[in-house]
Symmetry: C2
DNA sequence: TTGTCAAGAATGATCGATCATTTCCTAAAA
DNA sequence: TTTTAGGAAATGATCGATCATTCTTGACAA
């Protein structure tokens, strides 16, 4: 079997992994909405594959928290809620504060350069797509995550880095949902630059404060959207 | 299908979940040693079930970090190492410090009572098994985890509570491995009481310090064992 | 109308056969 | 002796049929 391409650009060794990545992306992008049933046979048909790879994918997603599972009742896209968003945001603030403080303490010049470069790339990447379509700009999403991960990358703990990455993805899902619901984004271009400057100045307190505010501001916007949808 | 009992006391609705819990326990107890191959057909035979439930279990374990997976190369019990133990310990210290500080801040009398009761139960549960066999005393393990989870239970963040639980289990695996390798345990009975007292006194700094020392002391013991095994 | 219950349909879970890839073993060549 | 090629064996991955459970539907009774 050659590499699989269930979706353009995705190439993996097994069907299970390919399907996993595709469903994962669909959930994070919001094209699979919270609460949606993840019917194994339907997904098999959609991805032109058997039942086993789909079930394996869903098991992975459930452990990751992106899907929910109950024995004999199948899988569902994990629901979203304001309390869960608040919990998530709190965790992001804690973890990123820890990460950036340690990185400021331990980071060498390579770390500084990574922060500088990823921030620069982020500022050069347009927020909206080049083709004018309304979807997310994958390049920007990637640059944004790269910058936030760079900030904590010198903390010395792989566990913390991985945790920040997972939290980022979960929060990203909320952002996508808010965008789909038509939230206008106050452009946070300068916020990122400010955070970068604080980090390169090795000002731990200011970095932590700016990061926390950055996360909370985003969360508040998303919260508003969820509330208007629920009500 | 009635409840399944693959192992005494385990009862779940699907084979996949039953097998998952059994393999998980085997890994945490150390009867499946780090690096051991998790052969799907062998496990199917051992648990008297088909291939699918086993594969689903292994996918879950891999996402959880207890198993490692590479496409087309199957599953392996996750290896252990001194650096990973250090990372894990660091993370435990951070997370439990956060958890206990917030709990001291937010916890009501129900939290205090939970800490008191779980500590009491722990002190009343013998460390070694009633039947004199050398294995772990499941009651003690359970009481120990209950106490540590009680300490952070009022932190207000489900995410943090769940994270502490996962970290506990991962660290517990290291402890089991050290015990199997014949590590003599300096009995930490009083450590737990001291932590309890500090928490009930609402002394956040002392609680955090004692917890961190508690984790680090255990980790150092385990490290020694791993090093002597490696060397 | 509302509640109950028994088919029947839909869906989830499991099975073992089969296909694909990797690993192992052996023999010939360097 | 070491290296390498090739084929067999082992293992991983996938498939679709089948079994088990849950959900739906509609007739009937209260």
């Amino acid at each position: 079997m050659q590499g699989l391409h269930l979706i353009e650009g995705t190439e993996t060794k097994t069907r299970a992994s390919a399907v996993y990545l595709d469903i994962r992306r669909a959930i994070l992008e919001g094209s699979l909405v919270p609460g949606a049933k993840l019917n194994v046979r339907d997904l098999s048909a959609r991805f032109q594959t058997g039942l086993s790879p789909v079930r394996e994918s869903l098991n992975r997603l459930a452990m990751e928290g992106l899907a929910s599972h109950e024995d004999n009742r199948g899988f569902v896209v994990s629901p979203v809620s304001v309390p869960e968003l608040q919990d998530l945001t709190q965790a992001r603030c804690w973890m990123n504060e820890l990460g950036v403080r340690r990185s400021i303490e331990l980071g060498d010049s390579a770390w500084e350069e990574a922060v500088l470069v990823t921030c620069h790339r982020l500022s050069r990447t347009p927020r909206s797509r080049a083709d004018g379509l309304p979807g997310p700009n994958v390049d920007w999403e990637q640059a944004h995550k790269a910058f936030h991960q760079a900030l904590v990358s010198a903390c010395g703990s792989n566990w913390l880095i991985e945790t920040c990455s997972q939290l980022y993805d979960s929060a990203d899902r909320y952002r996508s949902l808010a965008r789909l619901a038509g939230a206008a984004r106050h452009d946070p271009l300068d916020e990122h630059s400010e955070i970068m400057t604080a980090a390169l100045d090795r000002d731990a307190d200011r970095s932590a404060r700016l990061l926390t505010e950055h996360f909370q501001r985003t969360a508040e916007l998303v919260q508003t959207v969820i509330r208007t949808q629920e009500g």
